[in-house]
Symmetry: C2
Subunit: 341 residues, 2 copies
C-alpha cells in the first residue's frame, strides 16, 4: 500500500493538519517542524495521489491553445485535434479555450499572450512565431508561474517549459537523405519550396536539408528557395515556372504547407518530367498524391499526438509532476505509400 498523509503524520510525529500545511505550503509552521515533515515525506517516499487531490479540490485545469488562423490543412488539423481534446475535457478535468491569431502576426500573438496575464490559467500552448517580442511575452507568463508549451514551432532562447514538436533540423536532414538516396547517383538540380523563412521550423528544415546535401550529395545542386507563403496558388505558379525554366530539376523538397498547389503543378508536367518529391505534412492531398505516385515520401508530425502531449505536459507542469519523457517525444513520421495509417 502506498503511503498516505496519515503515514507522514505518524512518521513525523505531527498532526494531519500540520502535514497538510506543509504539503500545501500554508503558513503557520515553524521551520524545524516543516523540515521534520519534509524529511518524513522523503523518507517514506510519499507521493501525493493527484486523482484524490483533484477530487477534493474539484480541480479543473484551465488551458489555452493559441493557434494561427489560416486554411492550410495542417493548421486545420491542429485546430481539429484541439477541438477533439475539448470533447474529453470533462473526463480529463480540463477546460480548454482556443484563441486564434493571424499567422506570422507578432503583435497579435503578443497581445494574445499578454491577455492571459493575471488570469487563472493552468497552462498555455502556442504555435510560436520566433520573434524577440514573442519570447519576451512568453517569459513574462513563465515568470508568473504559468506553464508555457510551444507547439509545432519552438521559440529561441525563451524560458518555455517544454516544446511539443519535432526536431526540424533532423527532419530536413532526413528529407535530404531520402531525396538523395532515391535519386541514386543522378546529377541535377533541386528545388526547395518553403512557406516563409520567418518561422523557425521552416528555417531549421532548410538548414538540415542543405547540410546533408552539401556533405553527402555533391552532384545535387540546390536552387534558391521558393517562398510559397503556405498559399496553394502561389506555390503552384512558383513551381510551374521553375520547372518550365529549368529542365535540370530532378527533385523537390517542400518543407511547408500549401502542398495542394505543388501537387497541381506536378500533375501538370507529370508523365514527361520524372521528379522525385518529398513533402511535409500528411493531409488529404498529400496522401492521395503519395498513393498515385506524384510524390515519393511524406514527412509528418502527428498533430493529435502533439496536442495530447501538450495537455499532459501542461497538467503535469502545473502540478509540479514529472512526465514520461519518452512518451512526450514527438516523432518524425516518414510515410511511403505502403505504411500510410
Amino acid at each position: 500500500m502506498r503511503p498516505t498523509v496519515h503515514d507522514i503524520a505518524a512518521a513525523a510525529g505531527v498532526s494531519l493538519a500540520t502535514v497538510d500545511r506543509v504539503l500545501n505550503q500554508r503558513p503557520g509552521v515553524r521551520l524545524v517542524t516543516r523540515e521534520k515533515v519534509e524529511a518524513a515525506i522523503r523518507q517514506i517516499g510519499y507521493i501525493r495521489d493527484v486523482a484524490a487531490a483533484n477530487l477534493a479540490k474539484s480541480r479543473v485545469y484551465p488551458l489555452v491553445f493559441i493557434v494561427p488562423t489560416g486554411d492550410n490543412s495542417f493548421m486545420h488539423g491542429l485546430r481539429f485535434e484541439v477541438h477533439q481534446a475539448t470533447l474529453r475535457a470533462s473526463i480529463e478535468r480540463t477546460d480548454i479555450r482556443i484563441v486564434e491569431v493571424p499567422p506570422f502576426d507578432v503583435p497579435a500573438l503578443v497581445a494574445a499572450l499578454d491577455a492571459l496575464q493575471e488570469q487563472d490559467i493552468a497552462g498555455v500552448a502556442l504555435v510560436a512565431t520566433d520573434a524577440p517580442e514573442v519570447r519576451a511575452a512568453v517569459d513574462r507568463l513563465v515568470s508568473e508561474r504559468i506553464p508555457v508549451i510551444t507547439l509545432v514551432s519552438d521559440l529561441t532562447d525563451s524560458t518555455r517549459h517544454h516544446y511539443a514538436g519535432i526536431d526540424n533540423i533532423a527532419a530536413g536532414r532526413t528529407a535530404a537523405r531520402l531525396l538523395g538516396r532515391f535519386l541514386g547517383g543522378r546529377e541535377g538540380d533541386l528545388t526547395v519550396l518553403a512557406g516563409s523563412m520567418l518561422v523557425r521550423d521552416h528555417r531549421e528544415r532548410l538548414q538540415g536539408f542543405s547540410a546533408v546535401m552539401a556533405e553527402e550529395f555533391p552532384k545535387l545542386r540546390l536552387l534558391p528557395v521558393l517562398e510559397g507563403r503556405d498559399d496553394p496558388e502561389r506555390a503552384k505558379s512558383l513551381v510551374s515556372k521553375a520547372l518550365s525554366e529549368n529542365k535540370d530539376i530532378i527533385g523537390i523538397y517542400s518543407l511547408g504547407a500549401g502542398n495542394r498547389g505543388l501537387i497541381a503543378a506536378l500533375k501538370a508536367v507529370r508523365p514527361e518530367r520524372e521528379l522525385t518529391v518529398v513533402v511535409h505534412e500528411l493531409t488529404r492531398h498529400t496522401r492521395a498524391a503519395l498513393l498515385d505516385g506524384t510524390i515519393d515520401a511524406v514527412l509528418n508530425q502527428d498533430a493529435g499526438h502533439e496536442v495530447r502531449s501538450a495537455i499532459r505536459v501542461m497538467k503535469a507542469t502545473a502540478d509540479g509532476q514529472a512526465v514520461i519523457a519518452d512518451q512526450e517525444r514527438i516523432r518524425l513520421d516518414i510515410f511511403l505509400k505502403d505504411n500510410l495509417p
Copy 2:
C-alpha cells in the same frame, strides 16, 4: 459541472441507493425502475468518474505480461519497458506481473495462459506465438471476461480484445520500397534474413516485402530466406556464407532479431562489397551500424509505446471504457542516420 450520481437520482426520481444498484449491477431493482434510471443516465449524459470510483474501491489493476525469455535486444528492451511500467505501478494503480516463457514454445505459452484462469486479473498482454493452441487458450481467457491484448505479434482469428503492435505487412512493404528505391535501378540479388517463419510477424513482413518487390522492382531477385532463429552466431555464418557464395547480392533485408551477427558479417566484407541494408528493431547495435553506414535504414516499433499502450487498453477494457484509437495505434518508425532519437 459534470453530472454525478446525485443528478441521476434526482432526474430519475429514485434514491441514490437505487442508482448505485443499477450502475453496479447489483440485484434488487425492478425492470421498470432500472430502465427509468438507465434512461436518465443517457439523457443527462452521465459518465462515471473513474478516478473517484477507483479511490472508493481502492482499486488496483492486476496485470500480467507474458514475454519470451531470450537475450535478443528487442525482447530485452521489451522486458525493460515492462519493468519501467512497474516503477509507475503505484501511481497508475497497476500491479504488474511479468511471466517469462521460452520463445516459440507453444505448450509453455498455453500453460502460462491457462494458469491465469480463475485468477483475479484485470488484463493479460502476451507476445503471441501464432498457433491454434495459443488461440484457444486466449479464447478461454476472453470467455472468462479477462481482457487479453496481443503484444508485438498478433494471433490469427482469436478473440483478443486488442493488438498492440505494428502492421507487419506494411512494414515489409515499406522495407521493400526503401531497399528498391535506395538501389536505384540496379539489378541484382536480395537476401532476406528472418528469425523464424513460425511467428506471424516475420511471415507477414516477408509477405509484404515479397509483394512489393514482385510488383515494383522486377530487376531485384529474391533469394531463399535465411532463418537465423534470432541467434547472432547463426545469423553471422548464414550471411557470410551467402555473401561469399553469391557475388550478385546487392541488398539485405533483416526482418527479425539477432542483427548483431548480421552486422558482424557485413563489417567483414565492408569496404569491398557495396550493400544496401534495411533491418528491423533499433538497438544499441543497429544504431551504431546505422551511424557508421553499415546499414541504411532501421524499421522500428517502440517497445515503450507498446507497453504503455497495452496498459492503457487493458485498464480501459477492464472498465468497459473507450480508448483514443489514434493514440493506441502503434506506428512503424523509420530511422535513417539523421532522425535517430
